[in-house]
Symmetry: C2
Subunit: 192 residues, 2 copies
DNA sequence: GTCTATACAACGATAGAC
DNA sequence: GTCTATCGTTGTATAGAC
C-alpha cells in the first residue's frame, strides 16, 4: 500500500471522478484532469487512449458489482426472491455510491460508454429490467420496473436528498421499489 | 401559416430537436445544425447567442406547460387533489413529448440549461417535488416523490418502452406515480 | 514504461464586411 | 440576415526524450 509509484492511473481515476462530480463528464476536459494531476494532456493520453475509456474506468467497479448482483440473483429459484435480492443490492449500491450514480445517470457520455463497454451483448442495462419483470411480463409490470429502476437511481443521486442519512435513504428507496413491483413490505424495520 | 419568411428561427428549432434526438445535445454541433439548414454557423449565431440558448428554446414549450400545470394545481384546495392534478398533467406531458423528455433527462446540457433559465428562483424543478410532498413531508414521502418524478420522466423516454402505445403508457405511468405517493387507484379504467 | 513537446481537425464563439 | 475570417479550446494523435 501507499505505493507512490505506478499508481498514476489510480490517482487519475480519483481526480477524474472528482472533476466529473463537480463539472459533469462533458464539462471536464482532459486538460483539467492533466492540470489537476500536474502532468500534460499527453501523459493522460498515455494511460487511457480515449476520454471514453476514462469514463468507463471510473464507472467500472460499480457496474461490475451490479453485474455480480445479477449473477447471484439468477441463481435463486423463486422470482420473488430474485426481485428482492436485486432490489436490495441495487439500493445498497446506489446509496454507497451516491455521487457516482448521480454522474452516471445525468450524463449521456457515461451512460453510452457503460452501455457500450460492458460484457458485450448480455448487457447489464438490459439484464436489470428483464430480471425485475420476469418472464411473464405485462405492460404494467414493465412500466413499473422502469419507473423503479430509473427512479431509485436518480433519486439516490438527487441533490435534494444529499442531506438524508444512508440508512433512511436505503430503507425508503427499497420501500419505493418494493411498492412499485408489488413485493410485500419489510417486517423487520417496519416501525422505524 | 406556411409563412416562408422570417421563420428561420422556427425551422432552426425543429431541425435542432431532430438532431438532438438522433445524436444527443452534446453530440450535435452548430455546424451540423447549420449544414442541415443550408446556412453558416455564424448565421445560426445570429438567431441564438449561444448553444445553450438553443437547447433552452427547444425545451421551453414543455417547461412552460409544466409550469402552468403547477400554477393550476396550486389553486386547488386539498393536497390530494393537487397531487392527482400534477400527476396526471405530468404523465400526459411526458407521454405527448416522449422524445423531448428522453433528450431532456439524459443530457446534462439541457438539464442545466432548463434549471438555470426558468422563472428565476421559483424554479419548476424545485416546485414539482415540493408540490408532490406537500408541507407535511417526512423522509419516506420525500424519497417516494423523487423516485416518482425521476422514474416517470425517464421511463417515459426509455427506449425499451417506445413500442408501447400512448394510452397504455399513460395509464401505467400514472398508476406507478399514484402507488408511490399513496393515492388511491383509479376506478374508471381499473379493468382495462 | 512514463512522460513532454508539438501538431491537427473540429468545436463554440466573436467581429466586421456585405 | 447572412457571410468570411478568426479566436481559443477541445479531443485525438505522433515523435521522441528519459
Amino acid at each position: 500500500m501507499t505505493a507512490t509509484k505506478g499508481d498514476t492511473r489510480v490517482r487519475l481515476l480519483e481526480t477524474a471522478l472528482g472533476l466529473f462530480t463537480e463539472h459533469g463528464v462533458e464539462g471536464t476536459s482532459l486538460q483539467m484532469i492533466a492540470d489537476a494531476l500536474g502532468v500534460t494532456k499527453a501523459a493522460v493520453y498515455y494511460h487511457f487512449k480515449t476520454k471514453d475509456e476514462i469514463t468507463e474506468a471510473v464507472a467500472e467497479p460499480a457496474v461490475a458489482e451490479l453485474s455480480s448482483i445479477l449473477d447471484r440473483a439468477e441463481a435463486l429459484r423463486r422470482h420473488g426472491a430474485q426481485v428482492d435480492y436485486v432490489l436490495d443490492g441495487l439500493v445498497d449500491l446506489v446509496v454507497r455510491n451516491r455521487v457516482l450514480v448521480a454522474v452516471f445517470c445525468s450524463d449521456p457520455g457515461i451512460a453510452r460508454a457503460v452501455e457500450r463497454s460492458l460484457h458485450g451483448e448480455e448487457n447489464v442495462m438490459t439484464r436489470l429490467p428483464a430480471m425485475l419483470v420476469g418472464p411473464d411480463a405485462d405492460d404494467a409490470t414493465r412500466v413499473a420496473a422502469h419507473v423503479a429502476l430509473a427512479g431509485m437511481a436518480m433519486a439516490g443521486g438527487s441533490p435534494a436528498l444529499v442531506g438524508m442519512d444512508d440508512e433512511s435513504l436505503r430503507r425508503h428507496l427499497a420501500d419505493a421499489g418494493r411498492r412499485l413491483l408489488g413485493r410485500p413490505r419489510r417486517r423487520d424495520q417496519a416501525l422505524a
